[in-house]
């Protein structure tokens, strides 16, 4: 096993004991029209319980494939993934079962447009049969209030702003008391100022709920601002190139962005990522 050594400097506050993910030598090959595609190759990564782990890489590098494997949307062709020591998928069982312990927040948002925000948030516990509709609505209302979402319960997602929609979706995920939150570039489509507001909102939610967060992004500033650790991935096939400990204490606010420590981390990341980006950029152009 080649788990990266924990430096401890940026260890997450150890409130959470559940939600450690171990990704072990994962391979993923699929066959597209153009032929054999090696999306992920020999990828190993340990994510500690209760930490925010940021996965950074250029778009199309296979990060989402990794997330899909953890969530159980796709099978893997080699290696294994464990959640708290339990095998999610591995040699005998290539595809994990999607379940409410690992909830995904999607790139373009997946709030059901035909349900009101409240119905969306209450959806999980109701379909799992854990709560009646009424209990779920009660709890949902409480959780939405905690996240500052008051007065939009009976609106449809299409009626509220995109930043608001993302928050509703995160709350919907948290309703299930998940061990892990899997976020797939959730703020990628927002403009940068709304994004900065959303970052602080996400941290707020995180400080109260202490779940493990697996966060995919290609925005370096976002990665360093939010994460305990930042894993920089190589382009095609995807595997960790460098794992960076972000030793800026939580709770963080936007003025962290201009602190010296932040800048030195930023420098380190920029240089590591830049060559990958150029590689991806050029590969993209060649393919065209």
């Amino acid at each position: 096993m080649n788990a990266p050594a924990a430096t401890g400097a940026a260890a997450p506050e150890q409130h959470a004991t559940k939600g450690a993910i171990r990704i072990q030598n994962v391979d993923k090959v699929y066959y597209a029209r153009e032929g054999r595609v090696q999306a992920v190759s020999d990828c190993s990564l340990d994510i500690r319980a209760g930490e925010i782990c940021m996965i950074v890489g250029p778009s199309g590098c296979g990060k989402t494939t990794l997330l899909n494997a953890i969530a159980g949307f796709h099978d893997i062709t080699g290696g294994a993934i464990y959640l708290d020591g339990q095998m999610l998928c591995g040699p005998d069982k290539p595809k994990a079962e999607p379940g409410p312990d690992r909830v995904v927040v999607f790139q373009n948002g997946a709030l059901f447009p035909w349900k009101t925000n409240l119905e969306n948030v209450a959806f999980g516990p109701v379909v799992q049969g854990r709560m009646t509709k009424k209990e779920a609505a009660e709890k949902a209302r409480g959780m939405m209030a905690d996240a500052g979402l008051v007065g939009v319960e009976h609106n449809y997602p299409g009626e509220v702003s995109s930043g608001m929609r993302r928050r509703v979706e995160i709350v919907r995920a948290l309703m299930n008391d998940p061990k892990v939150l899997l976020l797939d570039e959730p703020f990628g489509a927002l403009d940068s100022l709304t994004k900065s507001v959303m970052h602080e909102a996400l941290l707020e939610i995180y400080y109260r709920n202490k779940v493990t967060i697996f966060f995919i992004t290609h925005d370096l500033e976002e990665a360093i601002f939010l994460g305990h650790r930042v894993a920089i991935m190589t382009t095609r096939p995807c595997k960790p190139k460098k794992i960076l400990d972000v030793d800026i204490p939580h709770p963080r606010k936007y003025n962290v962005l201009t602190s010296p420590r932040f800048r030195s981390l930023m420098e380190e990341t920029v240089s590591a990522v830049h060559e990958e980006a150029v590689k991806a950029f050029e590969a993209g152009e060649k393919e065209m």
Binding site: E267, H274, V278, F281, M288
Partner: protein, 293 residues
């Protein structure tokens, strides 16, 4: 992609950078009870041969301002002048690059670039040569026969830059041109675009919501307030060119500017965010109390 001296000469040939003055411009929308002032008493100058960047929260009326500058719409009051001549309508001395690509999907890269000269009937041998040169310059020589849908996002933006440059506008107006590109491609586009600016020294007006983008590119930075759109602050960014991403991260001056810009912007962003609904306003309220307390 470094520019040979004669390259630079060619790029600069025929450019006469202009200066736009905006004085006391206001613009309202809607009528009777539904009237809203989007731009109020806006006054600023887009200086000759400089890259002026305007930053403000989304939905603050920046796009309206661009439509006014381009001449698609007329201001309710105030004046806009280009080189002291009033702006009356769209013309090819002020070209706009839109958010996301506005390349005509039914034309090849080559035809797209030549659209302007063709429309004005200026298809001399020189124009063709210039088009050829620009195509090389933006690195799309092999893609001349491709349609926009066959190009990647970054290539589309570069083709659009070429399409604008061939018309030799005295001012180029760019409305969040790199929005929608992924963060890494975007950063490469910044470097590319600022090098192009340094070579041509054309007057550029660039609108964005991204603070890093703004500081990386700008000679002057205009920070706008929320609706109604007004200039909140003007910062001169005196960081030497050429700039690179890494140098900018290390630069103390850049960081200072960022800090002061951020504090203004954060306030405006929160305001713009809460304008969406009452609930968001409540959220912002609760949030700021929590942050302070």
């Amino acid at each position: 992609m470094s520019a040979a001296p004669d390259d630079q000469g060619r790029l600069r040939a025929g450019i006469s950078p202009g200066e736009i003055k905006v004085t006391g411009v206001s613009k309202d929308y809607g009528d009777a009870r539904f009237r809203t002032q989007v731009v109020r008493e806006c006054t600023f100058t887009i200086e000759r041969s400089k890259l002026t960047v305007m930053i403000g929260p989304s939905g603050c009326g920046k796009s309206t301002l661009i439509r006014l500058l381009a001449g698609f719409e007329k201001p309710d009051s105030g004046t806009i002048t280009l080189n002291d001549a009033p702006v009356t309508g769209p013309a090819h001395d002020r070209l706009v690059l839109f958010q996301e690509s506005a390349l005509f999907p039914w034309m090849t890269t080559w035809d797209n670039i030549l659209y302007g000269p063709r429309a004005r009937g200026e298809m001399g041998r020189e124009t063709i040569e210039m088009a050829e040169f620009l195509l090389q310059k933006v690195g799309l020589a092999q893609f001349r026969k491709k349609y926009p849908s066959q190009l990647s996002g970054g290539m589309q933006r570069r083709a659009e830059l070429a399409r604008a440059m061939i018309n030799n506008p005295s001012v180029m107006i760019l409305d969040e041109p790199f929005r929608g590109l992924d963060a890494m491609t975007k950063e490469l586009m910044w470097e590319y675009y600022s090098r192009l600016f340094e070579e041509t020294r054309r007057t550029n007006f660039f609108v964005t919501t991204d603070i890093d983008e703004a500081i990386f590119l700008a000679d002057r930075l205009l920070i706008m307030s929320n609706i109604p759109c007004q200039v909140r602050a003007v910062l001169d960014i005196d960081i030497p060119r050429p700039r690179t991403l890494l140098a900018m991260v290390e630069d103390d001056r850049a960081n200072e500017i960022k800090m002061s810009a951020l504090s203004i912007l954060h306030e405006e962003a929160m305001k713009s965010f809460s304008r969406g609904s009452k609930a968001a306003a409540d959220f912002v309220d609760a949030y700021s109390r929590r942050v302070k307390g």
